[in-house]
Each structure stands twice: as C-alpha cells, then as structure tokens.
C-alpha cells in the first residue's frame, strides 16, 4: 500500500488543537493524537495494516507558516512547528457530509449511525439504494487478507459507484483459510454476513497444511 515517508531521526514537536505534543520518528499525526488520547474518528484505519486513506474521516486541518490544508491524519507524518486542528469548520464539514452520505450508503450499520450522531447527523438527504447494506468499501478486509494473512482471497471488483467487495473471479475462494481476520477488522461487521460467499468448500482445500 502507500509507502510512508522516510523516518526522521529526532522527535517532532508540534501542536494538536493548541496542545503541544511530541511525535516519535515514523509516527503519523493520527498515531500521535491517539498517544495523547485526542479523539480523531476513523473507519478505514487499523494498526495491523498500512494506512489506505479511503474513509477520509480522519482529516485534520493543518497550518504550517502561511500554508494551510486539510489532509488525512492517518497518512501524513507531522513536521516540526505544525499546527493541527482536529475540529475546525472545514474538518467538521468533511466529516458531517461523509457521515451523512454513509447513512444512505450503509443504512443497516449501527456503528455508522452512532458515529454520525456524534456529529449531529441523524438523517440523510440522499437516496438509499439497499436498506440492508453495511459495507462501506473501506478496504480493510482486502488489506488484512493480503498484507497480514498473505492469501489475497478478497478483492474489489468494478470501479467507482459500482465498486463491490468480492472474491477473485466472483467464485468462493479456496485460498481462504477461514482465519476470520477480515471479519475482525471490519468496522461495520458487514463481512460477518457474507463470509460464506468468500470461503470456498473446506473439503476441497489444497496446498500446504491441507494435503490430501
């Protein structure tokens, strides 16, 4: 996935919401914030895999000298003297809209409803396509299956609004070892329902450890 910037040697002093903080070399803004118990919401972040930056809920506003921008905190390392704002108007605007759209995209997810309510978003103006949907295509399951488990039994199919989570060639995948990592990292529990569409026939497993 996205390679991080080369680690710096010394600790980095910067501020989050006015509070002075210290990041160890290689830490991202999000990791630093978590270390200091500063809450930044995330859906697609998991410490076990490389950050992917798809949910954009972790965006923060940064100011460095005269330059200011809104960036995802899970992917960006801090620099000295950087000012980070986790609740600025622009940041909250992004989060509120993403959450409102997610309420329409994954109406069945309790986790998203709860998170949206934290930002005062309780209703959605957007059309609901599937009332049973929970998957937000964050890619955590795909990442964990490939990076941690190393079997690549899951993948994304199609593109854009048609993007779906599926197995290669859309058939139950015998590469799946049934470890359940994907289910455990899923932020909405969407994978629990569809695990059987991923997992192949146990009796037909081949390869190391499954020799017949």
């Amino acid at each position: 996935m996205s390679p991080r910037k080369k680690p710096q040697k010394d600790v980095i002093n910067f501020t989050i919401d006015g509070q002075p903080v210290q990041a160890k070399p290689g830490w991202t803004i999000l990791e630093t914030a978590r270390h200091y118990h500063i809450h930044i919401p995330t859906l697609c972040f998991h410490p076990a895999v490389m950050p992917w930056g798809s949910c954009r809920l972790c965006v923060v506003e940064t100011r460095y000298g005269k330059r200011g921008q809104v960036i995802p905190s899970c992917l960006n390392p801090p620099v000295a003297e950087l000012e980070v704002f986790t609740q600025s108007e622009r940041v909250v605007n992004v989060r509120r809209w993403v959450l409102e759209m997610l309420l329409a995209e994954c109406p069945a997810s309790r986790e998203i409803k709860k998170l949206a309510a934290e930002y005062g978003v309780t209703a959605t103006r957007f059309a609901i396509a599937d009332p049973e949907e929970e998957c937000l295509r964050c890619g955590l399951c795909v990442a964990v299956c490939s990076e941690v488990v190393g079997v690549q039994a899951l993948t994304f199919g199609s593109r854009g609004v048609k993007k779906v989570l599926e197995t290669p060639y859309r058939v139950p995948n015998n590469a799946c070892i049934g470890c359940g990592c994907c289910v455990s990292v899923c932020p909405t529990g969407a994978l629990q329902k569809r695990l059987d569409t991923v997992r192949g026939d146990l009796s037909r497993r081949t390869g190391h450890g499954y020799a017949h």
Binding site: K5, C55, R56, R90, V98, R125, F126, R137
Partner: protein, 643 residues
Amino acid sequence: MGKLKSVAELDSFRAKLLAAPARPVVRVCLGPGCLAQGADKVSRAFKAAIKKQKISADVKPLIKETGCHGFCSQGTLVNLSPFDLFYVQVKPADVPEIVDQTLRDGKVVERLLYGDNGNRYRSAAEVPFYKLQQKIILKNVGLIDPLDIEDALKAGAYRSLVKALTQKTTDKIIETVTIAGLRGRGGGGFPTGYKWRKAVENARDNPGPVYIVANGDEGDPGAFMDRAIMEGDPHAVLEGMAIGARAMGAEQGYLYVRAEYPFAVRTLNIAIEQARSLGLLGKNILGTGFNFDVQINRGAGAFVCGEETALLASIEGRVGEPVTRPPYPVEQGLWNRPTVINNVETWANVPHIIDHGGQWYSGVGVPHSTGTKIFSLVGKVKNSGLVEVPMGITLGAIVEEIGGGVPGKERFKAVQTGGPSGGIIPYELKELPPEELKLDKVGLQGRGFMTMELKNLPVDFDSLAQAGSIMGSGGMIVMDDRDCVVDVARYFLRFLEEESCGKCLPCRLGIKGMQEFLNNFSQGKGAPADIDALESLGRALVDGSLCGLGRTAPNPVLTSIRYFRDEYLAHIVDHHCPAGVCRDLITYRIDADICNGCTLCAKNCPQVCIMGAKKKLHTIDQDACIRCGVCMDVCPVDAVVVA
C-alpha cells in the same frame, strides 16, 4: 539507412535529405475533425488523381497525410505548397479540379478558399483563425508526415537532442528549463525545472535508476491537444523525453497513451521504431554513450489514470487507483524510484527550449506563465478547433477574434475552461455580495472571483485560478444563452461519477450525492437552502478527496453557483429553466402565426405527437411529448418555440 553512429553522420544525413529537390506538396489534414469529415477519402482521391496525370517523377506532387491543422470546423483542410494556398471543406469530388487547376496550371480554385465577412483568404496565415496564434509546439504538426522520420529530420527534429548531448551538461539542461519558466501543461502548472531538479537530487541521495514518464492519458471531454501532438509530431515528444532523460540520467521512458487513441499509439509506435532504426533511441545514441529507450503503455479506459499516482500504478500493473502524496513521484515513483512524469505537451516544449534557449522561451507569454498553450476551442463558437496562443492572451481574443464569436443570434454567456475539473467563467462581470469576495488563500480553489470582464481576462495559470477556474489541460467550451449551467454542471458530474475510481468516500459518494441535488434542481424540486447545502458538500469534496479528480470535481458546480445563482433559483423557485434545456421544466409550442404547415415536425417526431394537416397549423400533444427538441431543430421557419 542504417544506424547513425555519430553526430556528424546525422548532420550529413539531414543535409542529404534537405538537398533533395523540392516538389509540390499537398498536405491533407488527417486530424480527428477532418477524418470525421472524410479526410482519408480526400487523400485517396488525390493519390488516384495524381496517378492518372502523366507527370515525371521529380516534379510529381507529394501527398502528405499530416496531423491536425487546427481549423476543425472547416474540415477537410488541404494546404498546397509552394502555392501557399489553403483550401477548406474539401470533398473527394473537389480533388480532380484541384489537381487540374492548381497543381497543373497553378490557378486558384476560388470557391474552396476560406471566406469570412465577404473576404476570401488565399493562405492560411491570413485567415483570422490563425492570425493571432503563435505556433511553437504545433509548428510541425500539420507540416510534416508523422509516419516519416526523414520528414521530421528535415524540419529539424533531434537537433536539440544533439545540442543536449554534446553542448550541455545535466545541470545546464535543467537550468535552461528553469530559466524558461516552463510549467506543467497537464493542468497543475507545477514548475518543470524544479521537478527535474528534485528528481536529480533524490537520485543522487539514493543511487539507482530514474524513470521518465509522458502522460498522454488525455480524457477531458472535448479536449484533443495531446492527441494532436502525438499524432502530428510524435518525434517532438520522443525528443523531449530523451532530453529529459539526459538531464535526469534516466535510461527508460514510458509513454502512457489512452487506449481510445489508436492512431496516436500507431503513430508513436512507428516513430519509436524509426528512431530506433536510425539509432536515435536505444543504446549508445549517436555514439555519445547515452542510452535511452521508450516503451508505450496503453491505458485501459480509466480517466483517473491521468492522475499521476494512478498512472504509475497502472504502468506497474496494479489497479489504477491514486495514492496519497507525499511521497511524490520524484521521491518514490515507479518501483519506488524517482520518476519524472510530465504531460505530453510539456515534453513537446522541451526541444524548443533547448533549441532557442531559456531566455527566448521566457520572453513568450507573461511572467510566471511563459510560453504558449494549446487550447481546444469548442462549443458555441464559429471557428472551433485547436489553437495555440501565447500565455496571457485575453479570453476575449481567443473566443471573439480567433473563434469568431458565438454564431447565430444568441448571446455569449460563459466559457468553461479546464474541462470537468475547471470552472465556468461568465461573460458579464457579476456583482457579488462582499462576503463572497473575502479571498481565503487556504482554499483558493473554487473560491476565486472575477475582478475583470471575461473579454479582458488574461489566460494564464494564475489569472484563471483567481477567477475560480483552472487552466487544466486546455479544454475551452464556449456557451451561449441556450446552455443551462445546471445542466452543464450535471453533465460534468455524470462524467466524473462514471470515472471516479471509488477509493475514497468523498469522491465516490459525494459526486453521486451532488448529482442528486442537481437532478432535483433540474426537475424544479428543492429549496433555496439546498443551493447552500450543495455548495457546502462541494467544499467537503474539495477538502476531503484523495486525488485531483475528487478535489476538482465540484468546480463546475461551485463556480456556476457563484456566478449564476439566479439561474439555480429560477429552477427551484420559479420552476423555470431560463435556457430552455431542462426537460422537466420546458414545453415546446408551435407559433400559430409562423407555422406554414410543412409537416416536417410531424414527420420527424419520434413520439408521433404532432398533429396537423398539410398547409395547416400543427399542434403538439403536451402529454405525449418527451421534449426531445427534434421539431425545433427541423422546423425551417423557426415556428417551434420553447417556453
């Protein structure tokens, strides 16, 4: 001809080519516009007609199938030298006459000359469309046969490469490009010299290969600048890349061309083969010890692969999805090595800069935006086509003088620059409430405003950004009063929704969500507060999206709300589409005083819902009408009106 083993051999080869006696040349434009008008048939007709004529071989006219001449609305275009004649709208049936009159007797076929306001122009240089243009990059496009490297050599190709190989050090090349002030032509406008220097520094810190990439994944609707270069003068791109490779110490280049450009791929492949066979690409180029080769990668139909990180992923064989920058490609690009990726048009500028020097180039255009830029001028404009103008020329000069203004009786309304990522700039200066004018540097994009009238607005990177739009890759769509901004914004969003890769949520869900708002507006639904909500959602996309596609997607919406809020309000409050475009808000009516009962509308109506006897008034059954507008288009007396 075998491989050229030294610079001297290239020079003598070029001299030999130039020494050949000049023959009359017929240059038939085979650009996309002319091809659609049957340029290939014209070219075949010329060849057949000349074969019939009994002329000795040394004075036999040469038929050259060239790249785009630019004046697409007048295709098929034919240039004849040494007569210096420019014929427009040539059909295969005109060819025997041209051969008999002009090529044999040297007479002018008056009716094929371009005429405008009673004037007839003999040569292309006199035509108003070409007069204000300054051709640097397109100099050889339309002049040379793109499939023949000897023709390109005669026009001076690879002269700058020789200069770069023999007279200039790596630093000197980069310095020249920096002095020239060249900025990326793909839309971002990043200083090219600075990018190159960064790549060289990164490679020095971390020894290993460096890669060169040319981005020819031109996907904006209605844009064909890069296509014209790749199809018309492929060696300019290859030479530019080779010079860049020399500066960066790269040995491998990649040319990423979209699969929808099969002619460009074919032309480039032939050009690469010919350059290799002459030893201008490959190992030990011209005996200088410099190695460089180019490989073509075809896209697979994804617009997002024009974004540099997605493009690199695609070349590596991964899914074409962008990743967050930093790290930038000059730090970690292809296979985690420093990679310089520039647009095809940027590369095509490089040979000219090396040839004439950085000082000369920086003298063209305006400070901070130097050189020329190619635009594809399309839409409601009389002379549509490809234009190359110096930066800093006013929009008014492009649209009204080069483009000849808006045809018909409608009023000039706005210009959309930069394609789906750009903004709509109104013709009239709009009075904006003072709170709108507070310019925040933090989020300049989409927040700019007009401080001067469109016709005086200079076309350069900074002025367009100031006006809330972008230069983009050079699309320029002219709109008149019959174009509805809500509908235009909806069109671009529909395009981007199709093309979003779906990786990040603001882009995948947001573009769809913005469309839902606009669909409602176009049906007259919604409340005025929804316009503010749409604006706020647009800002969320600008701030939240991962790559340039999502970050710029709201621009057409944001700028059209800024300048044409009254039109949005007309849709929502009055349920009325002022331009008469949005189907749910209009009705077609036949004016009783004008209708002469010709029955054309009734014959062409797909719903068969127009009634009326011959020579009697016709009427439209509003319940069955689908508002396709065919009746309006076919009516010879303009009796069909939209209300």
